[in-house]
Symmetry: C2
Subunit: 305 residues, 2 copies
Amino acid sequence: MLGIQKIAHYLPDTKSWNAEKKECFDIDDDFIENKIGVQCRTVKNEDDNTSDLCVKAYHELLKKIPVAENEIECCVVVTQNPDYNIPHTSAIVHGKIGLSDNCACYDLSLGCSGYVYGLSNIIAFMQMNGMKRGLLFTADPYSKIIDMQDKNTALLFGDGATVTLISDEYEWKPVTFSFGTNGSNYRELICDDTLYMNGRAVFNFTATTVPKHIKEMMEQKHLNDADIDKYILHQGSKYIVDTIRKRLGVDAHKVPFHMFEYGNTVSSSIPMILEEELDKPENSRMVLSGFGVGLSWASAIIEKK
Amino acid sequence: MLGIQKIAHYLPDTKSWNAEKKECFDIDDDFIENKIGVQCRTVKNEDDNTSDLCVKAYHELLKKIPVAENEIECCVVVTQNPDYNIPHTSAIVHGKIGLSDNCACYDLSLGCSGYVYGLSNIIAFMQMNGMKRGLLFTADPYSKIIDMQDKNTALLFGDGATVTLISDEYEWKPVTFSFGTNGSNYRELICDDTLYMNGRAVFNFTATTVPKHIKEMMEQKHLNDADIDKYILHQGSKYIVDTIRKRLGVDAHKVPFHMFEYGNTVSSSIPMILEEELDKPENSRMVLSGFGVGLSWASAIIEKK
């Protein structure tokens, strides 16, 4: 059996402040605080590519726990902003970290549902192939593709990366996963040259689909709200997190909100919150849920060992 | 238990003939027939994107076997030439085929090792999540990125796509998989704007790494050449297929060579051969091996049910 042993993250020091863009976009403090919930966005160094963000997250992991590079048997990067399309970014990270020749590497192309998918994917792949230690990276620096004149996206997305150490010496294990796709509406969130998001359509899809999806998953496992200590939702915006929470009928203290000081970090948003919540003694069972690009959604229930 | 039930492929009708490029690239018939082993390359219609090639392969599958779209629970596309980077191509295929909302979709970014990785990945993911029917697509149309003045790549790569129906009503099942990565040499095969390949370096890596890798995998399963009916190798070039075969010490009739009439179709090369070999009564156990971009390699042993 494999699960999550430890999570670490990297956030760039450079910040872009939305307060400085009030005039330009005709927005006020209420919009910043309660609608998007992003005071400032983290922006990567221009020289840093996606693989560099992963390596920086890995160095943060090493500060928390020793990792023997030659024991890592699997390295997965979840991204839709790779260094190049050819080769996969996981191979570049493999080279930069200095992993062994026997390590399997692949990228998963998914957006905001990517961490939940990635968790299921790497654990399943490693278990089937008898692997014991692996690294699951998320890094999707949207600063590479955002049109800074587009109000729908320019105030929202922050750069960052996370790494999750998957191991047979795990602290938390997955109990169940559930996935969904609505591919016919893929054009609502798309990047040809720069990112386009139909905020209203994505909001409506999320508000309609995700709470129902989470409830169904819990019902299938005969769990109700009293059995869940935290709901770790993808941080799409303050408004969407609040909306899902209300539709689930869940107390605010059970739904951490984190993005105010860095923005929507796409597939990194869930593991950035999870990193803190894993160690809190009051948590023994949590729901995770990611949703967005695709359109795609994925939820999981995880339990303390 | 899940395995391979059926495979289908799509190859474009348009062909580009290497005989017409002899003068331009200063090559002769021996080079065409024995070095690269590509008489002509298939080239996709300009209007067709990667997802369209997948859909065309899917329509070929429907000619061979009925598929209930609402029973497909997982749809994976292996590609490094997606329609867009955002969203994943599997979501677009999902929409075009009309799969159900309950279907999990993700792309795997891998090159010539992608089919073997993909086979292990989708089977592991589906088994862990209790899914019974899935589609594994490969489609990597290099015509999108090839510099037609570059002798190293302009004569070699063909467009195509395959789809593998993964099911609990399988005909062939995987016995073992083995994976490897040498990320520090990723620059030998890379696409920034157009494809660059250091043919010599990639050849040397393959000739050194792959035969040893296959032998080790067989030894671990206590199998020798007498136990293997066919070796399905990625069709990198005639010269590399011949070299691996000789270093394995295997008879030519056990190593099908297919690419003469369509070229190197990247992650589609193995399933295009496998599609034919699955149904031959003389085959009961086969080795698969893919290698290339990353640098990456992956091998498997599969057995008839």
